[in-house]
Amino acid sequence: MLRYTIRRLLQLLIVVGVLSLLLFAWLRSLPGGPVSALLGERATTESRARLTEELGLDQPIFVQYFKFVGRALSGDFGVSTGVQPGDSATEIFLQRFPATLELSFLAIVIAVAVGIPLGYLAARRRGGWLDNLSVVSSLIGVAVPVFFLAFLLKQVFAVDLGWFPTAGRQEGGIDATRVTGFFVLDGILTQEWDAAWDALVHLILPAVALSSIPFSVVFRITRASVLDVVDEDYVRTAESKGLTTPVIRRRHVLRNAMLPVVTTIGLQTGALLAGAVLTEKVFAFPGIGQALALGFERRDYPVLLLLILCAAGVFVLINLLVDLSYALIDPRIRTRGGGR
């Protein structure tokens, strides 16, 4: 188990290392480059040469890369040029990461809270109207582009009906105390209930849009795995030894059916990150996703480099946690000697 964990952590390091090298090379290969970006197209040859030297761009590329890694290890990823000009990339990340985390967490909660019960009910009444309806809606959930769904929700519930705010994380007029950077949590901690409520209301529409894909997946996996488990021998055994139906459902069906669902939830982080880029743009929600979208639009390379590296790191790390938790939940995997 320990060896497996260490191997996977090494793999995480390799992924981030290879990715940083690729991204770095990509950054250097772009037309223009930081010199033109800082001085403009009309700069003299001398001033260009001076700045090139100053920035260390005249050195061989591998020297530059090692210098970059050295600075990155001490937390310096450079200064943003487009998303929030002047701020350091690390600052932008720390400021926005809680926002995306808050949003993704709520999206997963919605996906699980709706997907699992619905999947279970659909499997129990297989072929019934609830089953057919929810299967069709989960398929449509995958087919609708996330940003279009976000637009629809915003148009109907924010613009036309006015039930929710159209953009942002918090109303400007509210003077909230910041503790953790998680606005809802801040409001609860400082007992500023209006601020917490306002932050929550801002989260709902983007979270619903973001939850569409994880919901579809969680629902379908739950349904399929309940259908699988119901046919297992141990369920028949439980029935024949006279256990009551609720006990069988709770202890034998649901518990075993949850295993693949737990895995799936973890695997959705990738989809969530991608979805956050699109949803946050629609709702002008100041998170990682919006910074990424803005970064691509304004070609803000320091910010992009840091955010993509972090996204990949988080993705791999969560996959590792899922695999480990899977081994903890399922004794059959534990006895097999801790994975391959």
Partner: protein
Amino acid sequence: MSTRTDKIDALSEQAARGDDAGVSLAAAAWRRLRRNPVFLVGSTIVLLFVVLAILSPFLAPHDPAVPMLGDQVVRARNQIPPVQEGHPLGGDQVGRDLLSRVLIGSQQTLLVGVLATLIGLAGGLVLGTLAGAMGGWVDTVVMRAVDVMLSIPGLLLAVSIGALFARPNQYTVILAVAVVQIPVFARLLRGSMLAQRHSDHVLAARALGVRQRSIVFRHMLPNSLGPVIVQATLVLAIAIIEAAALSFLGLGNPDDRLPEWGQMLGQAQNVIDSHPQLAFWPAGCIIVVALGFTLMGESLREALDPKSRR
């Protein structure tokens, strides 16, 4: 490896095992598919989409590139040509006939979906066959590379590749969407090739002295294609949706003389509040077509799954 990759492997092994059952897998699958309403709906949508793409030059009433209603566009007041005689859906941001653009758009959309899937499939086929047939260190190297690619979220990878090009066009979009799919196909194919390496028909061929190359290409590869075809159907839908997402993020094809639904949807984002029809038509088309491919893929997957033969 991670559970995500395990899932891909399980699918390929499952389908490879199916070959050992009595009736031919394809025949049994087809018998079940013919009566499956999900498959019928899906394949009907896909068929209509392809026919539309072929016939659209004859169906479209106007040239999709000519701003014939241009004089009705007032940019300052965000005014866009309304529905009128001869233009049943009105015009777009620069006064081109919306109906013609939606109809002709099916061509480029089909092109994006098919080309992206084919490139992803070709890349995956090469890598997967190499890894699955050669084994050993080739397998290790290829699969490590594939795992690194799989560890980056799909859209982020596509967006990064899309941003690589200083001047995006239709083909950079297709390439960006396709590259993301290569590792999935590679892993899928490797799994089913590995499952076959020690199966009876490969052993028999080897005992008869068939050359390694023919064993791989004539015996192993054809038997591994089932799950790959299922995945390709699903990827067609994903490619069309992701191309739209790239457009939405400003990394799509800026040349809009030949319309594409994702591009139309991406470009409509600035006027969606005042003129939702510009987004609704392409979005509706994308949703229906993506649903068609997904229904077809899911029903194919179910039909090829030996567990559902009961």
